[in-house]
């Protein structure tokens, strides 16, 4: 069999100021024609850098220092810029993580599709357009004849990602590099994109490098899996072998990561700490919440689950007072909370704290850790001087960061997981009773996310905190929630304790959501798709793929 891509001893260095440090430290990689290789690793492992190197490309501030990259026997490191431009798009194509950010918003999808084939002179305008419609149909995009004439903002995220894959296929390349193509999508949309990508890659016998940090996803897509860490290869094996018998300790720890589980606790009697009672809310004239009610008991964790646009974050905005409700009320203990943030006093504000999805934007990059955590201490509790210092150190110990090392650091010198811990410390500093966690693990690697979740559970046990988790990640819900609320289109679809929601019978939407969570079993996607097609023909299927 002919090797399509051979990488030997590849080293890539990245510049940080005037210093060069190695990002990829000598990686070998082989790819056969038509084979799908999964690249797995935490962020900073060098997987995207390696993926781009397969196109002979380096990001700004990076350079290939050593090794060879042979594509169809041609060394890309020796190729001229003109030759590389010629190869890219025609022999190798790239699908980026965020299709929304990768499309030019000023041009229609079709025009962007045609650009590649015209540039490479593989086809003319008419045939390329006809081919686009054909590929759109193969990717099961709705209205394949018309969708090309829409602008990127008129198309949903999942559809854009599929359109981008069509674009990559335009010149029928030998190799496509998928860089986390479904990470930004909801589980239900992710399935559709995964299925479409898998089918088209198989139909055209295209080889692919599939980069992801989600092991369950990669086990559906890849023939072989390569695990990277700190720029070095840890292990490579066939998907089935890799899943059933990982050799290295690091791989085993990755596989075991979804082990976090908390035994279910029965719902206690008594008055709830906070309850949402028949809340309706609008953004302008658009209704975002429709008669939403649920309540949370003291010391418990409630998970609010749903796709983007389901209204789960809007509920949090109403509870915190950022978006005044247009109907209904939020009750805190036995008082009704003023709907507007401005009319709540500090005592009330202190008890409801929030932790955010993106640790990078949740902390002011121009402040130090001391300033960020210290502010609530002064603002709410009036602590100063030695008292404040003692409390600061205490908080740092609670979030398991060394106060001597981190207190005076600027925010920008921390990793994502550390930033998220600082976000937790800022919330804790107010000594709250209730914390809203808005998708707090979705931008973190699995190992780091698990650390954060463990920390939150420990804090709950120590301090008797009550949490509300807003998430689309059902694995997290299964692991730590006591109670679950499922939302869709601004309405509550189902609510109850974790056991009630996760065990049948399910309303159709919950069923769809639960079945869409990828499992770490190579046959899962195939079986699911067959089952859904079966359900469809039987006439009781929820939504077709």
């Amino acid at each position: 069999m002919t090797e399509l891509l051979t990488i030997r001893g590849l080293k890539i260095a990245g510049r940080n100021g005037a210093n060069w440090s190695e990002i990829v430290k000598g990686v070998d990689l082989d790819l056969q024609r038509g084979e799908v290789l999964g690249l797995v690793g935490e962020s900073g492992a060098g997987k995207s850098t390696l993926g781009l190197a397969a196109m002979g490309y380096c990001r700004d501030g990076c350079r290939i220092t050593n090794g060879t990259i042979l594509l169809n026997g041609e060394d890309l490191r020796l190729a001229s810029q003109r030759r590389l431009r010629d190869l890219r798009g025609r022999s190798v194509a790239y699908v980026a993580q965020s299709a929304a950010a990768s499309f030019n918003p000023a041009h229609r999808l079709m025009d962007q599709f045609i650009e590649g084939p015209l540039q490479h002179r593989t086809s003319n305008r008419q045939t390329a357009a006809a081919d686009a419609v054909d590929l759109y149909r193969q990717m099961q995009l709705p209205h394949p004849e018309d969708i090309g004439f829409r602008y990127p903002h008129e198309v949903s995220g999942g559809q854009l990602q599929r359109a981008m894959t069509c674009m990559a296929m335009a010149c029928r390349p030998d190799l496509i590099i998928f860089d986390e193509p479904t990470t930004a999508l909801d589980v239900t949309t992710q399935i559709e994109v995964l299925a479409a990508i898998r089918r088209i890659v198989a139909d055209h016998n295209t080889a692919a490098i599939y980069i992801t940090h989600d092991l369950a996803v990669v086990s559906q897509m890849a023939d072989r899996i390569m695990v990277l860490r700190h720029g070095k290869m840890v292990e490579v094996a066939d998907t089935a072998t890799m899943l059933s018998a990982p050799q290295e300790a690091y791989t085993k720890s990755l596989w075991a990561v979804r082990s976090l589980h908390r035994p279910s606790r029965p719902l206690p009697a008594g008055a709830p700490l906070i309850s949402v009672e028949g809340v309706t809310a609008h953004y302008g004239t658009a209704k975002a919440l429709d008669d939403v009610s649920f309540s949370i008991q003291r010391g418990r964790t409630l998970a609010v689950v749903g796709e983007s646009g389901s209204g789960k974050s809007t509920v949090a905005k109403v509870m915190t007072g950022l978006l005044p409700a247009s109907g209904g009320a939020v009750r805190w203990k036995d008082t009704v909370l003023p709907p507007r943030l401005e009319s709540r006093n500090r005592g009330l504000l202190r008890h409801i704290q929030m932790i955010y999805q993106m640790p990078d934007t949740a902390l002011n990059p121009k402040q130090t850790i001391r300033e960020i955590i210290g502010r609530p201490l002064t603002f709410y509790l009036g602590l100063r001087g030695a008292q404040k210092e003692a409390r600061l150190r205490n908080l740092m110990k609670q979030i398991e960061l060394d106060p001597d090392v981190y207190l005076n650091r600027p925010v920008t010198a921390l990793s994502g997981g550390q930033k998220q811990r600082i976000g937790i410390a800022r919330a804790l500093a107010a000594e709250p009773e209730f914390i809203i966690c808005d998708e707090i693990t979705s931008s973190l690697d699995q190992l780091v996310a698990e650390g954060i979740l463990k920390l939150l559970m420990k804090l709950q046990a120590d301090l008797g905190l009550t949490y509300m988790f807003i998430t689309h990640d059902l694995a997290t819900v299964k692991a730590i929630a006591d109670d679950v609320v499922v939302m869709q289109n601004g309405k509550v679809v189902e609510k109850g304790t974790r056991d009630e929601v996760f065990n049948p019978p399910h309303p159709p939407y919950t069923k769809l959501l639960l079945s869409s969570v990828p499992e770490m079993d190579p046959g899962w996607l195939t079986r699911l798709l067959e089952k859904r097609v079966g359900d469809q023909t039987a006439g009781d299927g929820p939504i077709a793929v």
Partner: protein, 272 residues
């Protein structure tokens, strides 16, 4: 810091040198200048040399000394005026971005009205009404330049205001002043600083223009704009002396722009 300077391109280094010399001249003018600012030292329009390096002006004052004192007045006032414009403009801009809704609309529309009138004409009208004195001139130019600073800082603050850490501070119950001063301002300082350099040049030229028209800094105070005007007749005799203050204005403007370009470049993170 020294490392940063080492990487600076030659244009930026040239700019910084010119600025440094300008500042030294402005601060130590009485010690550096050979004669006093308004001291009449000889006959009118003496040529270069003979103890007066750049000759004398229309009243027999030493040109070189007046150039050196002029640095102080022209550059110093431009700095003060730009400072006032930035203080008011950036505060209003961030405030408008933070509050949004009708407050933003109200301030923005007022600023639009201010921008709709050509600045030089507006300044001439206001100075004609208020009378031309240095405080009036500084005030009028500052008000005119509040508009572009407002627009810039509002746009820059708009990007920051929607970030989560602002929401976190709002949820904490922080007041507007804290949000502006501690949360937003530090994040747009580099943008504002770069703009400061550019605006400073405009203000500087504006003062020179007003002085040339006779509405700016009043005689006998030395400043570069009015020095061009006072000695303009020399041009018809083929003497380039009046071009020297003009060249100084040009030089400082170019120097500042070199430095600002470099700062903008660094702030934007571009490589080439």
């Amino acid at each position: 810091m020294l490392n940063v300077l080492k990487q600076a391109p030659p244009t930026a280094i040239f700019g910084m040198l010119v600025i440094a010399v300008t500042i030294i001249l402005a601060v130590f003018a009485p010690w550096i200048a050979p004669y006093g600012e308004t001291q009449i030292v000889g006959a009118d329009y003496l040529p270069w040399g003979d103890g007066y390096v750049l000759g004398t002006d229309n009243l027999g004052r030493d040109m070189l000394s007046r150039m050196i004192y002029g640095t102080r007045n022209t550059v110093g006032l431009a700095m003060l005026t730009t400072g006032i414009a930035f203080f008011i403009g950036s505060f209003l801009g961030i405030f408008a971005a933070l509050k949004g809704r009708w407050i933003d609309q109200l301030i923005s529309r007022i600023i639009d009205v201010l921008m709709a009138v050509p600045p030089l004409i507006l300044a001439l009208i206001l100075l004609a009404i208020l009378g031309s004195s240095i405080p009036n001139m500084v005030g009028v130019i500052a008000v005119i330049y509040v508009a572009p600073v407002f627009r810039l800082s509002r746009a820059a603050a708009m990007d920051i205001v929607q970030l989560d850490f602002i929401q976190a501070a709002r949820l904490r119950g922080e007041g507007a002043f804290w949000l502006i001063r501690r949360e937003i301002l530090p994040n747009i300082t580099s943008t504002l600083l770069a703009e400061f350099g550019l605006r400073f040049c405009f203000v500087f030229l504006f003062i020179a223009a007003l002085s040339f028209l006779g509405l700016g800094i009043q005689p006998p105070t030395a400043d570069w704009g009015s020095m061009v005007k006072e000695n303009a007749t020399l041009i018809s005799f083929g003497d380039i002396t009046p071009l020297i203050p003009a060249a100084a204005i040009g030089l400082v403007t170019v120097a500042i722009n070199f430095v600002v370009d470099w700062m903008l470049h660094r702030a934007s993170g571009l490589k080439e």
